[in-house]
């Protein structure tokens, strides 16, 4: 464990920054794990429709213990609810929503992101390889947001010149939200959009392998 992992914005604070980015009426797919936090922070004045790739559009909050329905689940296979206006569809239609460019935003975790927007988040090369819908989401969603700690648990950079792990997609990431910064992926590399208030540019660059454009 390194000192940076607890430094910076909390997961809830990162989630809130992402939630604030979605315009009213957006169709959004949130990845399993940390990205699921985002839905808690959407402004009540906005209506956002959540897509779950197992055939649920208009997903609501997790189901209460006393109303678990194992035939109404999310992509993480946990019982959830459906909101008014929601619908069910089969898998090919659900992935047509993704691959056909109908999803406005997806938020995913990352093991590595390169300055060219390559994403690695599905396998370390060890254990059972399992990809799920990640490769479809990164090429299909209009905006691909990565939500991740800035470094690995041992302090190694995750934002690299080139990914070392097997890719999920090439030149697919739009923006990275970490505990230390928000960085846009531009044709010239990572460009700083916002930095955690208590660190400076030098520190951010030190924990980032890829060169950051500050200005």
């Amino acid at each position: 464990m390194n000192e940076f992992i607890n430094l910076g914005w909390t997961k809830d604070e990162i989630a809130k920054k992402i939630a604030n980015e979605f315009p009213h009426g957006s169709y959004v797919n949130l990845g399993i794990g940390m990205p699921e936090l985002v839905s808690k922070f959407v402004d009540e004045n906005k209506e956002i429709i959540y897509h779950s790739e197992n055939g649920l559009l208009g997903m609501g909050p997790p189901a209460n213990e006393n109303e678990l329905d194992f035939e109404l689940i999310n992509a993480g296979k946990k019982p959830v609810t459906i909101l008014p206006g929601g619908s069910y569809c089969h898998h090919a239609d659900s992935f047509s929503m993704i691959r056909g460019g109908h999803i406005d935003y997806c938020v995913l975790g990352a093991m590595e992101v390169s300055q060219g927007g390559d994403l690695a988040n599905w396998t370390t090369g060890k254990g059972i390889p399992a990809v799920g819908g990640a490769m479809d989401l990164v090429v299909g969603a209009k905006n691909v947001f990565v939500m991740s700690q800035h470094t690995t648990k041992d302090g190694s950079p995750k934002l690299l010149k080139n990914c070392s792990l097997p890719l999920t997609g090439k030149s697919v990431v739009t923006r990275v939200y970490s505990n230390l910064a928000i960085l846009d992926v531009t044709p010239d590399g990572f460009k700083l959009k916002e930095i955690y208030e208590k660190i400076d540019f030098d520190f951010l660059q030190k924990v980032t392998e890829a060169k950051i454009i500050f200005n």
């Binding site: 779950s52 790739e53 197992n54 055939g55 649920l56 329905d69 194992f70 035939e71 109404l72 689940i73 296979k77 459906i82 069910y88 569809c89 089969h90 898998h91 090919a92 659900s94 992935f95 993704i98 691959r99 390559d118 254990g127 059972i128 390889p129 399992a130 990809v131 799920g132 819908g133 990640a134 490769m135 479809d136 090429v139 299909g140 097997p166 890719l167 999920t168 997609g169 090439k170 030149s171």
Partner: protein, 237 residues
């Protein structure tokens, strides 16, 4: 004579399966998984099966049990990892089972294509990743796409909510998932339903899978809920 696709028991509908068959299993995790039909498949003792499904089973119920009985030589799926997956994991780590990893949308579309008579299609999904290696790449409007081929099966085992005697199916919530596309992509589609439609025929506006895609139907009115069965320590056979 009247068309009637309804059969009396799981054993009756499983009578045609054979060693080496390619078999699609509907479901996403436990939702929509035809657990009782899979148990019927275990009872046939057929082996060297190729299984096409989204996952690779949990515990020793349903697909997890089929794999545990060493009846499967290969799994084609998008996500074979899960905390309760024991049987696939053990065989995989000992190189005793093959795995073809397919992105979930590509899996659904390969199955749909087979059902629609489309031999292959181009998609951006997996371009630049290890899963595109060895596949044809074609450029459309300056972007790279990979050729993916249709995926057919000898049998599809399906779970639906209701059927009528024509094999017209309805589903329940997110238990629909892969089931409708798999119905279209197999030589023989075998379905378990919770109940037979009360009327002579299903309201045409409510039918999700038209009976043309269905061969045999049987009723399992209180199907096993996989996660509860596993938590209770149940196994099959």
């Amino acid at each position: 004579m009247k068309i009637n696709k309804l059969f009396n028991s799981v054993n009756d509908v499983m009578s045609d399966v054979f060693d080496g068959a390619v078999i699609m299993l509907g479901g996403f995790g436990e939702a929509g998984s035809p657990v009782e039909l899979i148990h019927g498949l275990i009872d046939t003792k057929c082996k060297d099966l190729t299984i096409i499904a989204n996952n690779a089973g949990n515990g020793k119920i349903g697909l997890g049990a089929l794999i545990g009985e060493n009846q499967v030589k290969k799994v084609i799926c998008s996500f074979a990892r899960s905390p309760k997956n024991i049987t696939f994991k053990e065989l995989y780590e000992n190189n005793k089972i093959e795995l073809e990893v397919v992105p979930q949308g590509t899996l659904a579309e390969r199955i749909r294509s087979a059902g629609a008579g489309i031999p292959g299609f181009y998609t951006q999904t997996s371009v630049g990743t290890p899963l595109a290696e060895g596949k044809e790449i074609k450029i459309f409007d300056g972007k790279e796409y990979v050729l993916e081929k249709a995926l057919k099966a000898d049998f599809a085992l399906i779970k639906a909510e209701t059927s009528d005697r024509y094999g017209n199916l309805t589903y329940n919530k997110t238990a629909r998932n892969f089931n409708p596309v798999m119905c279209m992509a197999a030589n023989q589609t075998i379905v378990q339903v919770k109940r037979i439609e009360k009327e002579e025929n299903t309201d045409p506006e409510k039918i999700i899978t038209p009976g043309i895609f269905v061969n045999k139907v049987t009723v399992v009115n209180e199907p096993i809920i996989e996660s509860i069965a596993i938590d209770n320590g149940e196994t099959y056979p």
